[in-house]
């Protein structure tokens, strides 16, 4: 604890606020703010997973929303069939099955699309990941069984041992703990030998290859890990909103996720959470004042880019860090 940096303290403080405030809101009759916090925390997990790629791997994925969608449909589709019949193989309310599906399908999707995408770099990588995201989007739009782009209402949430997802408090608790675990996981990975290779390749790929690292596979591994985490966030989001639609996978959503990470400050532990918090809260607060809230919001983004380099975390950082 002695060695805690200023950002470390802020991270701790932020996480503490997230632990205390939302339940307080709920108990005082402001269920909506609990909802807001749940959304924020779940998207925070997605942003943290993206940060592993974008911040530490230098891989700007512009199709990450696809994983959220896949994770959410991994809840929606089995639950739909359990209610309305058909597709006996997966028709079930069993949360563990949903979880395995969400993470498994995400991993598979990441493996296939990553293997192709990682042949490119820079903006080309950004665009090819976007293309795969859009393919997922249009695929689910075409699936008439699940109402295409009208979306699917989840009537029964995943049934998990120990946790009842119908209870907003327990759902939030699970999401919060998941976020903490996700942050720790990313931090651990980043500091590990694997993380060193990933960050080295971000900075100077040629050097890393010359040293004997097959950076392609290291990056692919990171891409799969990130995809799985994001798929898990989708699993939570599906259970939270109980309404899922292909729209969750649209490139604009991937863009929002990306903006959250950059806004908060990529390659910092708290940056993604800070970004998603500011993004969601600003949206909420500004839009309650005017329907033209995009105007001040846009101006803020421009101001941030022009005058604060490296995202909001930079505002908190001491000079020496």
């Amino acid at each position: 604890m002695k060695n805690m940096t200023k950002t470390g303290w802020i991270t701790l403080l932020g996480m503490a606020a997230l632990a205390v405030l939302p339940p307080y809101f709920l108990l005082n009759g402001h269920a909506f703010y609990m909802d807001l916090a749940t959304r924020l925390v779940i998207l925070g997990i997605a942003a943290v997973s993206l940060n592993l790629l974008l911040g530490y791997g230098g891989l700007i994925s512009f199709g990450h929303a696809a994983f959220i969608g896949l994770g959410a449909y991994a809840v929606g589709i089995p639950s739909y069939h359990a209610t309305w019949g058909g597709f006996d193989l997966i028709a079930s309310y069993n949360g563990m099955l949903h979880l395995v599906l969400a993470i498994g399908v995400s991993a598979l999707f990441a493996l296939i699309t990553g293997a192709i995408s990682l042949r490119t770099k820079g903006v080309y990588f950004l665009m090819i990941t976007m293309a795969f995201g859009q393919m997922a989007f249009f695929l689910f739009q075409a699936l008439d069984v699940y109402n295409g782009d009208d979306g699917l209402t989840i009537d029964v949430r995943s049934e998990l041992p120990f946790v009842n997802l119908d209870s907003p408090m327990q759902l939030y608790g699970l999401s919060y703990v998941s976020l903490a675990v996700a942050m720790l996981l990313v931090k651990t990975i980043v500091n590990s030998r694997f993380g060193m290779v990933l960050q080295g390749a971000k900075d100077n790929n040629e050097r890393m290859v010359t040293l004997g690292y097959n950076t392609y596979f290291y990056r692919l591994t990171a891409y799969v890990i990130s995809g799985m985490m994001c798929g898990y966030a989708g699993f939570l989001l599906g259970n939270f909103t109980t309404f899922i639609s292909p729209d969750m996978m649209h490139w604009t959503r991937s863009g929002e996720l990306m903006f959250m990470v950059i806004l908060g400050g990529s390659s910092t532990a708290l940056g993604p959470i800070l970004g998603s918090s500011v993004f969601i809260l600003l949206e909420e607060v500004l839009s309650s004042f005017t329907i033209f809230w995009h105007l001040p919001f846009g101006l803020m983004l421009i101001g941030l880019v022009l005058f604060v380099r490296g995202g909001l975390m930079r505002l908190f950082k001491g000079r020496g860090e």
Partner: protein, 391 residues
């Protein structure tokens, strides 16, 4: 972040601790994006309705909260959640888009509140997903195109080509016209919604199909784009156009400004028209025009009706909003003065009402508007009612 939270907290306190004798109505519509044309028209109509009521329903003050669905189901659900959980409204009304309604309905109904749609009417909410607290102030999606199918039969059209957007309502419209139209359907194109605005490929296909008529459904700005391209393609004589929800009071002034005369004389079906002869409608149309300088659209008419439907329920229970059973019974009787004239409710709380054939004409001042040419159905009930378990 803490500052923001406390600001949010303060805002909450302000709104939720002021509880007077009032009826709180949340109205979900589209106020941003291109869809806002419709939302704005509904907003105007709702405000006019409240003005006509003197700001009161019975003894209760009316507290209206408008929410923007941003033209997206997910956003629609989020703002609905907020209305229900945070603003704690008594009744949620609104919903232009079927997919937004489908996404949001559960949030309202699970909270035990009334939900009144002022436009969207997808099949499921009339059928297997019907609910005792759900009412429609509009129609079921399939009905208007079914009326158009009848019109096509009467006109002796042998074959048609269909172009419609690929979303809930679009599919409903296609299903509707296919149900009643007895001729051949030579092709159906479902286009990407709401992004696709260039229909050159579809129009070329429709023309090549050799159909006798073209049936389309394009609400909002896509309708304007479609009509324009239809005109540019010069298909008026070879491939007459039959529309539903495409030409309306919102697009007509734009067409008139652009001197798009092909629209004059075009026909479409609807449950309402500004010329319907009753006191309520006359007052609504006249005051709306006086205030906003344009004819109200059918979206506006439905939104206007929804407020009077709610008013009838509030008055029936003398302001005791906890007596939901009596409120429900009052609404089921549809005894309020509707701008469309009298109608009744089916078991699924969908209107059983008349459908008319409207035609675009010039009014006395030279403004483009519509008039009724014929009555297609006297009292039509949607086909999903039988799937609804409600009695």
């Amino acid at each position: 972040m803490k500052k923001l939270l406390s600001a949010a907290l303060a805002a909450t306190m302000l709104t939720s601790f002021v509880q007077a004798a009032e009826v709180k109505i949340g109205f979900v519509t589209t106020l941003t994006t291109g869809g806002a044309v419709i939302g704005k028209d509904q907003e105007k109509a709702v405000n006019l309705a409240i003005e006509h009521m003197g700001g009161k329903m019975g003894d209760l003050d009316v507290n209206l909260i408008f929410a923007d669905d941003g033209f997206k189901p997910e956003t629609g659900k989020q703002v609905t959640d907020k209305l229900v959980k945070q603003d704690n409204v008594d009744i949620v009304a609104g919903y232009i888009w079927s997919n937004v309604l489908l996404a949001s309905r559960k949030s309202v109904l699970d909270a035990g509140k009334f939900l009144i749609t002022t436009n969207a009417g997808p099949g499921p909410v009339a059928g297997k997903l019907c609910h005792e607290n759900f009412f429609s102030a509009s129609w079921q999606n399939d009905e208007t195109p079914m009326a158009m199918g009848e019109v096509l039969n009467q006109k002796g059209v042998k074959s048609i080509y269909i172009i419609a957007p690929n979303y809930a309502a679009g599919k409903g419209m296609v299903a509707g016209v296919k149900r009643t139209f007895k001729g051949a359907i030579l092709g159906t194109d479902m286009t990407t919604w709401p992004t696709q605005l260039d229909f050159s490929a579809e129009l070329a296909k429709a023309k090549a199909s050799g159909a006798e008529g073209l049936f389309i459904f394009y609400p909002g700005k896509a309708g304007g784009a479609f009509m324009k391209q239809y005109q540019q393609a010069g298909l008026k004589d070879s491939l007459p156009l039959y529309t539903t929800f495409t030409v309306d009071a919102l697009s007509l002034p734009k067409f008139q400004a652009a001197e798009f005369t092909d629209v004059l004389g075009s026909q479409f079906t609807q449950q309402w028209d500004p010329t319907i002869d009753n006191e309520q409608n006359k007052r609504f149309v006249a005051d709306f025009r006086a205030k906003h300088g344009s004819y109200p659209s059918f979206y506006a008419a439905q939104a206007y009706d929804s407020m009077f439907l709610i008013k009838s329920a509030v008055e029936a229970v003398g302001g005791d909003l906890t007596d939901m059973d009596s409120m429900r019974a009052a609404m089921e009787s549809a005894s309020y003065p509707s701008v469309r004239g009298e109608y009744t409710y089916g078991n699924n709380h969908m209107p059983i009402q008349a459908y008319y054939l409207r035609e675009v004409v010039k009014d006395d001042d030279g403004n483009w508007t519509t008039k009724i040419v014929q009555t297609v159905y006297e009292a039509h009930q949607d086909i999903y009612a039988k799937d609804c378990p409600l009695k």
